[in-house]
Structure formats: C-alpha cells, structure tokens
Symmetry: C2
Subunit: 208 residues, 2 copies
DNA sequence: TATTTATTCACCCTATTAGGGTGATTGTTT
DNA sequence: AAACAATCACCCTAATAGGGTGAATAAATA
C-alpha cells in the first residue's frame, strides 16, 4: 500500500478542528499529522509536518486564511491547499483561488465528500462545492439582455483591452470616425463619459 | 412522488446517444423524453418535449453545441443546459458557460455522476468535472513569480481598468510622475511600449 | 408600412494624455 | 555593498479622448 496522505488542519474552532481530524483520520490512507488553531501558530512547526494537503479555514484569528495562502506556499511549495469555510462571497473565493488554493469547499460538505476531495486535490484535480461551482459559472456568464448592440459590445471589449480608437479602427477595418461614433453611443447607453467608467459599468453589468 | 425530470439528449453518435438515454431513463425520477442527432433536427420539435434539462454535445454536425446554446435558450428559456463532451479546451468551456450553459461534464464522467449532476442542475447548482474545475481554478490563479513589484501590479491593474495616469495618481495618492515612472518600468519589464500591449502581455502571463 | 435601431462615416474644436529621454532621492531587501 | 522598490522632476511632441452636430444606408421591429 502507498504511504498515507499527510494532512494538516488549520481551523480556529476546536470542535470543528477535532471533528475534521477524527473524521479524516479514521479513513484508511489518510493521516492527520497535526492540527492548528491559527496560521501564526502553524507557521512555526508546519514545515516539520510535511503535509501533502492543508485544510485551511478562512476565518482565522491573526493572519486570515487568504493571507495565509501565499505564506503557506512559500513554506511548503508542494503542499496542496484546500479551503474549507462557511464564506461563500464571490470575492473571497476568487481571492483564494487566485492566491493559489487548489480547491474550495463549504463547511456543509459531507465528510465523505471532503475525503474524496482531498484525494482529488492530491491527484491534481480541483474540487468545488456545488454552490461554489454555481457562483463560478455565474461569474462567467454574460448578461443576456445587454443594452449594447453586437458591434458596440465588440468595441467595448477592445476598449477594455486598452486599445486606442485608431487601433480598434484598424483591427475592425472600419473608419476611425465610426469607432468614435460607436464609443459615443456606448457612453450614452451606459450613462458614462470616460473609458474607465465605461469599463467599470460594463464589468458590473457583465456586458463584457 | 414528484413529476420525473424530463430530459432531452442532443448527441450525434448513436451509440453514445442511446447509451445515455438508457442509462438515465432507468433511474427513477428521470425520464428521457427525446434524443436527437443534431441541433438542427432538434430545433423543429424540441419545444414540444418540454425538457427540464438538455444534455448537449459540443461536436455536432451543422450548428455546433456552442452555437446551439443561445438558440436553445430562446426556444426553451427555462430549460437547463448541461454540456457533456470530450472537449476540454479552456476557450470552449468558457464560451459554453458564458453562453448560458448550466454545467460542463466530460464524457468519462460515470453514469451515476451524470444522473446526480442533472439533479444538481435542476436544483440550481452547477456541476463540473474534476478536470474542468481544475481548469477553471487554474484560470483564476495568478502567476506566482511575477516580474512586477506589488505597486507595479497594482498600477497595471488600474491601467487595465482604463484609467488615465492622472486618475491612477489621484486614486493612489501619489504624484503623476510616479505613476509615469512605474508605467515606464512596467513597459520595460514586459518589453512593450503601449497600454494595450502591456494589458495583453499581463493577461497572457496571468500577472493581473 | 412607418419607425426605430444598427452601422457606417464626416468635420468642427481643445484640453488631456501617452510615451520617450534622463536623472535623483529614500528606504528595504539581499 | 549592491540591487530593487517606490517616490518625484522636467525636457519634449505626436496622438488621443471627448464634446458637438449631422447624415446615409440597411436591418429589424412595431
């Protein structure tokens, strides 16, 4: 048999922390080598635990979970980080994933699913709760009923890429004045009067 | 008991199509009301099937799966679309999700998982294969070893929001010349000499 | 059919902007 | 000691953005 997957839990609530340790530890092939109540406490000795997977809570005293991710990455470049939290805000999730978390599960996830997810993370997968996946999917979905026409949307996308009017005109094989005209109409429809404001409004309304 | 979930399958390979119909239809609470070999064929009568969930293949003759999504949405605004395909390219996935697909599964997904996913989609969730989730997560992850400093990254982000130098200076409470200096250094490091090129390079390297 | 909308283009104007060059100061990290 | 990060200064000019006003043609829609 292979060596058991070494797991470290970082979670401030003692009940939950011990609960995880117990639940996961009793599964064959999974070994909880240590459990900490905060990142600041974990930082001292976690390198000696040689964890394969770190279960990390977001709401931690001192250094919070998001801040802890890059620090953990530095301490243990090869460990996978699995976020396990009650937070479901879009911002938090994306911050965690952008910082290098390998997965994101909510605390209502059943123990069997958590164990399965640890295996998936270890094998290079990226598990997500149903709610998280839904959020990610929604974040990718553009608003269906856009006030902008196809052409306007296309031009706004290029504006958001930092292109100048003349660049856009060249790329779309239309006149500079036409681009100008479209941008004016975009500003009218979005009730803005600058590139930055148009981009902001468009992102907020998922028009681009 | 509740009314069974009505499912329509659109898949050109007959073996796979009938396989899905059989596998899903034998599960209680799930009813495959129809199966089509192409969207163009389905378009004629699918509205009479009143499906709750549509299993959609990407590689279809004629109108492909991605193109079919908005058309299906128009025909059946309340149906959920679940992509079931071998394609795993990042672009394809995001196109599908952006077009309004509710979920994305790969064809190596076991039947039990597919059935479970249909239920999840119906209940408002968004299922994704492990591989897909991994891809989505990777797409959210920023490059860890960025050549840019924190400040430079921050300024580049604002440039990508379409802000002018003076706007950035105001927002960061620093001098206009400082912003200029940072942007010059960003251009140097990224080997570009325009906003548009800097944004492009930064996105390609996941620096922002 | 009538009317709106989309897409295209034109010319007026000016303050602002972007980008290149060159150099310097003050910390912080290595 | 040396490199990097972050800050600011002043030279320059071509290009850009944004405002105003107007118009032709085609496509979609009422």
């Amino acid at each position: 048999m292979e060596r058991a997957i070494q797991i470290v839990v970082i979670e401030d609530d003692e009940i939950i922390r011990e609960g995880y340790a117990l639940l996961i530890g009793r599964t064959e092939g999974y070994r909880v080598v240590n459990a900490y109540a905060s990142f600041d406490e974990a930082a001292k000795t976690i390198a000696d635990d040689y964890p394969d997977v770190i279960l990390l809570d977001i709401e931690l005293p001192g250094t919070n979970g998001i801040q802890a991710i890059p620090k953990l990455k530095k301490l243990l470049p090869h460990a996978y980080i699995l976020i396990l939290t009650v937070y479901e805000s879009e911002k938090t999730i994306f911050e965690a994933l952008a910082s290098g978390a390998s997965g994101y599960l909510t605390k209502n996830t059943p123990a069997s699913k958590i164990v399965e997810s640890i295996r998936e993370v270890k094998d290079g997968g990226g598990p997500m709760s149903v709610n998280i996946a839904r959020m990610v999917i929604r974040s990718f979905r553009k608003n269906q009923e856009s006030p902008l026409s196809k052409r306007e949307t296309q031009i706004l996308e290029q504006v958001a890429e930092g292109k100048s009017r003349s660049q856009i005109a060249r790329d779309l094989f239309i006149d500079l004045e036409t681009v100008r005209s479209h941008i004016k109409n975009i500003y009218l429809k979005l009730d803005v009067n600058s590139r930055a404001d148009a981009i902001k409004a468009a992102k907020e309304n998922k028009l681009i």
